[in-house]
């Protein structure tokens, strides 16, 4: 299975980034071999549509599941349309989150946060 974890850095040791569309990096991990690929998120600072672009990337890269903190409505619509599961990660590294996902310890996210939520680096969290 191919999992994407949103991260603040470009390795499996990097902490989880709680934003999806505006995450700093996407770390794509193969859960069987633990091989990984890091993609810098060039859309992180665009005015709008960051979530749509990130979701398109997930689809194009053949990702099966996404682990992040919060996800916006547009991104959610795209991922739902193709059946990519979205899971709420915990405070910790990419590696820890992948391990937890494999053990079934992460909750599936069904609800999205409002548009532009991640623009202030996700600080507006309740």
């Amino acid at each position: 299975m191919k999992v994407c974890v949103t991260a603040t850095g470009n390795s499996v040791e990097s902490p989880l980034d709680p934003r999806f569309g505006r995450a700093a990096f996407f770390v794509l991990v193969d859960t069987d071999s633990m091989e990984f690929e890091c993609i810098r998120n060039d859309a992180a600072f665009t005015g709008g549509g960051a979530g749509v672009t990130a979701s398109q990337l997930m689809v194009d890269k053949g990702v099966d599941a996404v682990v992040t903190g919060n996800i916006g409505p547009n991104a959610m619509n795209v991922l739902k349309a193709v059946g990519i599961g979205v899971y709420r990660g915990v405070n910790g590294s990419v590696k820890e989150n992948v391990e937890r996902l494999k053990k079934g310890l992460l909750d599936k996210i069904e609800d999205s946060v409002p548009p532009h939520y991640g623009k202030g680096f996700g600080w507006r969290q309740v």
Binding site: A43, T46, G47, G48, G49, A50, V52, T53, S55, Q56, V59, N74, N77, V78, A81, V82, P115
Partner: protein, 276 residues
């Protein structure tokens, strides 16, 4: 003569000055360009006679013709289209109606359809006009453009602009004969005034400054304007009475004779300083 009232900083008194001028100048037309939060109607209490729907063209996809090639998503500069597993998903709220997707589609599968983003409302006597942008829309510029198509050129339009110096402000002041920059004697007021002055210089429109909530003596706005050779047209004194009345939808000029006198003086100075 078209007069625009803007500020840079929000809450300095653009609307207070605009509605007062509109009430003072016989035969004028008040134009509320602050389409995200129009509030001039609270003071001028117009009877709305006509409503114009403002619409933009957004793409829809003919699934019979679409091959799912993804070109439309790639040309979209605003990330408003995703193509997943051969299916096109359009996000109209993000769309900037440029039409690139329609041009790019090799199959002719994209058609543009109108989508309402707000309205322009005109009073029965035509002396009042404002725009309203629907909540959640990304840009008010098309509504400002529609307002400007409905100006009564012979009626001294007074354009009450949105705060800041964003695209909708630029569109509002374009073609105006004079700009009144309303500010307040605070560091924030000065900071945003400097940005508004830069816009004036770039656009080459004659302008002057009104200092609202002013106290006696020389303040930081006077010092800045002196240094830059900018006219401080009038200073409007800080007044609890005016603030109280304003909070109840009562015009400042109806409770404060000083406001009335200084606004009349302001209009005289604007007439002398404008292009027309």
């Amino acid at each position: 003569m078209k007069i625009a009232v803007l500020s840079g900083k929000g809450g300095t008194g653009k609307t207070a000055v605009s509605v007062s001028l509109a009430a003072l100048i016989p035969g004028s037309q008040y134009v509320d360009c602050d389409v995200e939060e129009p509030n001039g109607y609270i003071f001028l209490r117009p009877r709305i006679g006509k409503s114009i729907s403002v619409e933009l063209l957004v793409p829809t996809v003919d699934v019979q013709k679409c091959t799912g090639c993804g070109l439309c998503a790639r040309v979209c500069q605003f990330n408003a289209i995703a193509v997943v597993r051969g299916k096109v998903l359009v996000f109209p709220e993000i769309c900037h109606y440029c039409g690139a997707c329609t041009i790019a589609c090799p199959e002719g599968a994209i058609k543009e359809v109108p989508r309402q983003i707000g309205v322009v409302e005109i009073s029965q006597d035509g002396a009042f006009i404002h725009g309203r942008l629907n909540t959640g829309e990304s840009t008010g510029v098309p509504i400002v453009d529609e307002l400007k198509r409905n100006l009564k050129e012979d009626a001294h339009p007074i354009l009450d602009c949105p705060p800041g110096v964003s695209c909708s402000v630029v569109h509002a002041i374009e073609g105006c004969d004079y700009c009144i920059l309303v500010t307040e004697p605070t560091p924030f007021g000065l900071y945003d005034l400097e940005i508004a002055v830069k816009l004036m210089e770039r656009m080459g429109i004659p302008f002057g400054v009104v200092t609202n909530k002013a106290s006696e003596g020389v303040d930081l706005i006077d010092e800045f304007c002196e240094k830059r050779g900018i006219d401080v047209l009038v200073k409007l004194p800080f007044s609890v009475e005016v603030a109280k009345a304003y909070s109840q939808g009562i015009l400042p000029i109806d409770v404060d004779d000083e406001w009335r006198a200084r606004l009349a003086l302001l209009y005289e100075k604007v007439k002398r300083g404008s292009n027309k």
